[in-house]
Symmetry: C2
Subunit: 345 residues, 2 copies
C-alpha cells in the first residue's frame, strides 16, 4: 500500500491569499485593523474564568470609508473622461418597503455622484412590458447597473427577469452566470453579491482570519446565505451550510469559529448555538413589534444579541452591522461596472 | 423579546423531495432498491458488538441499466423523427490518457446510437483555431453535446474555451451558467455534471436517505467535489466541504453520515476519518504502482478500502463504483440535450 500523503496538514496561509477580482481587492479595502480574535474567556490566576466583552463589529465606519472612496473615484472619473456611473432601477407595484429600499439606494447613489433613473411599473404590468424595460436598460450605454427591486408581484416570473438582466450590469450579483463564476475556483464573477461581499469586508477589516477556519452559514438564500458560503469557501474557510432540513443546527453551529446567519427569524441563534470565542456576522433584518419604540417596532437580527455578546469574541450589531456595508458594496459594484465599461483605471 | 420559532426542528422529509429538472428525474432513474442504512455494528444479546460487512455499492448494474434505457430511447427517437443525438469531441495534443478517455466515451456513444465526430488539433494549435472549432460545433444542429477533452496544453486558456461552449451543449456541465443554476434553488441547470449526478444516482438507488443527513465532501473541484456539494445540498443534506486548507479534516469527516471523496490521493481517507455506519462514495481514480498487477499498476480510490469496509455501512468500490455510472450519465446528458433540441418527449 502506498504511503499516505497528509496534504491536509498544511498550515493555513496568511490573510488575502484568495485571488479575487480587482473589484474585490480594490483600493477601497484598507488593510485590516489587526484585532486578534481571542476567546471571550480569560483564565485568571485563581482559575476563575471571566467573560470579556465581545468586539462589536460596527459597519458604519467601514461603510463611511468605502462610500467616501467611491465618491472620490467618481469625481476622478468625471474629471478625466466626463462620464459617471449610472444605475437604473425598475420598481413594480406599490409595496412600501420596496419603495423605501429603492429610495435608500437612489439617495446613496446621488450622494456619491452616480446618475440614477427609475422606471415605475404598475402592479399589474405584463411580463413582456417588464422585459422590454430591462432590455432597454441593457442596451443603454449610460447605464452600468440595473436593479429590479424584489419581490415582484406574483404573476411575474422573477427568475426569468433576473436572467434577462445583462450579467455585465447585474450589480446585485444574482445572475446565475455571476453565481457560477463565484462558485468556481479560478473564475472571477463580474459582481459579487453585496451581502457576502459586506460580510467578508467586515471580517477582514476587523482582522478575523478566515483561511482554515470552520465556518457555518445558516441559510442558503441567493441574496445572502448561498453566496456567502461560496465566498467564504473562496477565502479557504471550511464551510458548512445549515438550513431548515438540518437535524441538529445548534450542535453543528456550536463548532464554528465563524457563524453567519441569514435566516430571517428573530433571536433564533441563541448562546447554545455558539462556541465561546466565535465570531458572528448577523445578516438578519427582522422587524419586530416594540411598543416601547417610537415607531412601534424595531429591527433585530437572527442572533439573540444579549446572550451572544457574553459568549462570542466579536459580533455585528443589528442594525448598524452588515446593513450599512451592504449598501456601500452596491455603490462599489456600480463603480466597478462603469470602470469596466469605460476602460477606466 | 419575541418568542423563538424553532423552525429547525422540522423532521426530514421523504426521499425525492428535491425538485430536479426532468432530465434528472427522467424515467432512466428507477425507484431505489430499499436497502436501509444501518450501523455497521450490531449489539448482540451478550452486549458484544459485531461488525457486519458493508454494502458494496457497485456502479456496474446501475450503469448497465441506464445505458440500456438510453439506447432504447435513442431507438425510439430514430424511429419517430429519423434523428439521433450527436456528440462532438475536440482533442488537442497527444496525451495518451486523454486519447484513452475520449476512446471510452466515443465507444460508449456508438454502442447506444449516438453519432460522434472528433476533431484532433495539434499540441501547438492556437487559441483562435480551437475557438473556431468549438464555434462550428455550437452552430451545428446535428451536434447536441460538445466535449473539449481536458486538460488542454498550457498555452491555451482552458476557462475561456469552456465558457465558449454553448451552455445548451455543455454536456459536461462545467459552464458557469450551468454551475450557477445548479447552485441556485429554484433554478434548473441544463446539465448537471456527470460525477455528482452519478453520486446521487448511486445513493438513491441503494436507498440512502440524503434529506437531513450530514454530508462531508472532501475536495472542491468543478468536475466533482464542488458540484457534488451543490447537488447534495439541493437534496437537502447538510453539507460541509473539506479541502486542503482545512485544519481538522479527519475530525470533521468523522461526523458525517455521508462522505464523498474527490481528492486524488490514494488511501488518504482512513477509518479514523469515518463514523461507524457512514456511507462512502469514493470518486478518486488514482493510478498506483503494483508490481503484482499484469499492467504494473492498479486503480485505487481515495479511501483506504480495506479499513473502511470494516467500519462503514456502504461504500463504492474503485474501480467499479462511481466510474461506470459517470459514463452512463454523460450518455444521459447527451440524450437529454437532443430531446430538448428536437422537442422530443
Amino acid at each position: 500500500m502506498v504511503g499516505v500523503c497528509r496534504r491536509f496538514r498544511t498550515k493555513p496561509r496568511a490573510l488575502f491569499s484568495a485571488k479575487l477580482s480587482p473589484s474585490c481587492s480594490s483600493p477601497l479595502i484598507l488593510p485590516p485593523v489587526r484585532i486578534p480574535t481571542q476567546t471571550a474567556h480569560r483564565l485568571l490566576s485563581n482559575g476563575v474564568h471571566r467573560t470579556r466583552s465581545a468586539e462589536i463589529m460596527s459597519g458604519r465606519p467601514i461603510a463611511k470609508d468605502i462610500i467616501s472612496k467611491v465618491a472620490s473615484e467618481i469625481s476622478r472619473m468625471k474629471a478625466a473622461i466626463g462620464s459617471v456611473p449610472g444605475l437604473a432601477v425598475v420598481l413594480v407595484g406599490n409595496r412600501e418597503d420596496s419603495q423605501a429600499f429603492v429610495n435608500i439606494k437612489l439617495k446613496a447613489c446621488n450622494k456619491v455622484g452616480i446618475e440614477t433613473s427609475i422606471v415605475r411599473l404598475p402592479q399589474d404590468c405584463t411580463q413582456n412590458r417588464l422585459i422590454d424595460v430591462v432590455s432597454g436598460f441593457n442596451k443603454n450605454p449610460s447605464v452600468h447597473g440595473i436593479i429590479v427591486q424584489l419581490p415582484l408581484p406574483q404573476h411575474l416570473d422573477e427568475e426569468r427577469v433576473i436572467n434577462f438582466v445583462s450579467p455585465e450590469k447585474d450589480v446585485d450579483g444574482f445572475h446565475p452566470l455571476n453565481m457560477g463564476n463565484l462558485a468556481l475556483r479560478g473564475k472571477e464573477p463580474l459582481f459579487i453579491p453585496c451581502a457576502p461581499k459586506a460580510c467578508i469586508e467586515l471580517l477582514l477589516r476587523y482582522g478575523v482570519e478566515i483561511v482554515g477556519k470552520n465556518a457555518v452559514v445558516i441559510g442558503r438564500s441567493k441574496i445572502a446565505g448561498l453566496s456567502t458560503s461560496l465566498l467564504l469557501q473562496r477565502h479557504h474557510a471550511t464551510v458548512c451550510t445549515v438550513h431548515s432540513f438540518t437535524n441538529n443546527p445548534e450542535q453543528i453551529t456550536r463548532r464554528a469559529d465563524i457563524v453567519v446567519s441569514d435566516v430571517g427569524i428573530p433571536n433564533i441563534v441563541g448562546c447554545d448555538w455558539l462556541m465561546p470565542g466565535a465570531v458572528v456576522v448577523d445578516m438578519g433584518t427582522n422587524s419586530v413589534k416594540d411598543p416601547s419604540s417610537r415607531r412601534g417596532f424595531r429591527i433585530t437580527g437572527d442572533v439573540c444579541y444579549e446572550e451572544a455578546v457574553k459568549v462570542v469574541s466579536a459580533i455585528t450589531p443589528v442594525p448598524g452591522g452588515v446593513g450599512p456595508v451592504v449598501l456601500s458594496m452596491l455603490l462599489s459594484n456600480i463603480l466597478d461596472s462603469a470602470k469596466r465599461a469605460f476602460g477606466f483605471t
